[in-house]
Amino acid sequence: MTTYLIRRIIQSTLVLIISSAAIYALLNAVPGGPFSGLRIAGAGDKKSQVTQQDIERMEQMLGLRDENGNPIPLHVRYINWLSKAIRGDWGKSWAVAQGQDVSFLLKSRLTNTILLMTSATIISLIVAIPAGIYSAVHQYSKFDYILTTFTFFGIAMPVFWFGLMLIILFAFKFQEWGLPYFPTGDVISLRAPRPGSLLYLLGAEPGSLTDRLVHLILPSLVLSLLYMAGWSRYMRSSMLEVLRSDYVRTARAKGLSERVVILKHALRNALIPIVTIIVFQIPGIFGGAVLTETVFNWKGIGRLYVDALSRSDWPVVMAYLFISAILVVFANLLADILYTFVDPRIRYS
């Protein structure tokens, strides 16, 4: 087990270094970045305000040139970046929040993302696990068919469109019909709620707990339904597999009641995959949900990533991808370790 873990950690570290180097090189090779526009302006117009010196000075500030103004070669820059990155210094943002530390920027968005992702994860688990188990125990029942249909809809549903439809229904149509309507997005209200809205009805002050919770409802609903579709299906097939296994047949043959067979013998093993679900949710909890956060203008990490990408803010993009990669690797290792505890049948060598 220890040798296996050491080997895995060394492998993962190598993979992380290679892939981050590849992305770093690609990002630096693209025409673009914060001053490509300046450069074009400077080249075309002799009287332009921006001179070659200005650009070089800016590049120096951003760490693309050394003190003497000579360009630093790519591999040296990567090593510099990596040695700072592992100490938590991700450089400064180029565009989204110009001049701000990337680590500060990420931290400021983290609370919103964790709030959204954990609430969606918890709601989904509470619903998906019993639903999946129940529909496996009652295979081919009406409930099973309903759940299967729901799963199909969940898999086929484009999340962002589902989000848009909920906004149209609960924010716009509800307002039209004179029902207490939901906010269209954002994490908190910026001004006092308007009469007729749900927030007004609840007397929620901007920034209060109620205000935050009401804003959380629609985005976490979208995410929960998405996760529920996948996870309930997963739990169902896990339980079905256990129910078909020999030891369940043995338990039945011993004359145990169906209740004892399912609750004491089958359920415990069928629940093992929850470990996988939760552990592989870790990268998501910190990385956020790119599409849902964008649709609901939820100022989280996922939204930050999309903004950084569309404005060529490469330090933010690099930080996001590197942290996600580390979390994914960590989740994989954690899953392997936890499995040896919950399922003694698994051994690594």
């Binding site: 993979v15 892939s19 992305i23 690609l26 990002l27 090779a29 693209v30 673009g32 199909f152 809809f153 898999i155 086929a156 549903m157 484009p158 999340v159 962002f160 469109w161 589902f162 848009l164 439809m165 906004i167 149209i168 716009f172 097939s237 990268p283 990385g287 790119v290 599409l291 964008t294 649709v295 990533y305 999309v306 990408l309 569309s310 060529s312 993009v317 996001y320 991808l321 996600s324 990669a325 994914v328 690797v329 994989n332």
Partner: protein, 297 residues
């Protein structure tokens, strides 16, 4: 005598019913799969024959007719913020979205099948290298990676998006085919073939792959829907196929600005994406039941 003859004929014909007839009969019994097949056929035909269905040009801008609601002035599904006919745009967008869906699926299934077959058949060092690559690529956070790659190579070109989606889309199939090949190659008929001196390509292409056909085709039909949703997500976020070429995802890109006054612009493109993806999932489910219900895909 006549009756006896008829019976014999019936019995014979039943015995002669080919495997594909059985599969087809099973498939047609799956109501949702038939529904899916009908929907996809309608979508494909209406995308191909779009000019015959709608007289409007999807790129023609008419500022006087901005944001018309459905069923006004001859625009069945209304118009968008530039006065372009929604139905025409949806049908022409369908051409791109469906083309991307099919092309990416065919290419990534082909690559995945070749990698999986080679990996499973040869085993050893080839297998472990290929499978390490697959493992690594499967752990990547898909959407962020697709986004950054599209942002880097940008330009919104259709073929570029296809390449990006294929590069990050073949791994599932390769694992599936590898598993099939691993279990098949130990069976007697492969050993017999090898004993008779069959070449490796012959064994792989004449025996191993045809016998892995069922899971591959099921995986392919399930994948089309996923590809269409992913392309839509990229285009929705502004990293996919660039205007003026419309795709369903891209049509949703800027709808949030006037969703209050023109909600139909948000509804229809997403509905088309949803129906297409749902239909392919139904078809995949029907194919699985018809080909091999024990498949776990």
């Amino acid at each position: 005598m006549a009756v006896a003859e008829l019976d014999a004929e019936q019995l014979l014909s039943l015995e002669e019913e080919s495997q594909w007839r059985v599969v087809l009969r099973q498939f047609l019994r799956h109501r949702l799969a038939v529904f899916g097949l009908i929907v996809i056929t309608i979508f494909v035909l209406s995308a191909i024959f779009a000019p015959l269905i709608t007289p409007y040009d999807p790129t023609r801008i008419e500022m006087a007719k901005r944001n018309l609601p459905p069923l006004t002035e001859g625009h069945w599904l209304g118009t968008d913020e530039l006065g372009r006919d929604m139905l025409a745009r949806l049908l022409y967008a369908g051409r791109i979205s469906l083309f991307v869906g099919f092309t990416v699926t065919i290419l990534s299934i082909t690559i995945g099948t070749i990698v999986g077959a080679v990996s499973g058949y040869y085993g050893g060092i080839v297998d472990s290298i290929l499978m390490r690559i697959v493992d690594f690529m499967l752990t990547l956070p898909t959407l962020p990676i697709l986004l950054v790659v599209s942002a880097i190579f940008g330009g919104g070109n259709v073929w570029l998006i296809i390449v990006v989606l294929v590069v990050f889309g073949w791994m599932g199939t390769s694992r599936l085919v590898r598993g099939m090949v691993l279990s098949l190659k130990e069976q007697e008929f492969i050993e017999a073939e090898r004993a008779m001196g069959a070449s490796t390509p012959r064994i792989i292409f004449m025996h191993l792959l045809p016998n892995s056909f069922a899971p591959i085709i099921v995986a392919a039909s399930l994948e089309v829907g996923g590809v269409i949703i992913t392309e839509a997500a990229l285009s929705f976020l502004g990293f996919g196929i660039a205007p003026p070429t419309p795709t369903w995802g891209q049509m949703l890109q800027n709808v949030q600005a006037d969703m209050w006054t023109a909600p139909w612009k948000a509804f229809f493109p997403g509905f088309f994406i949803f129906m297409t993806s749902l239909s392919f999932n139904f078809i995949g489910d029907g194919l699985r039941d018809a080909l091999d219900p024990r498949l776990k895909i």
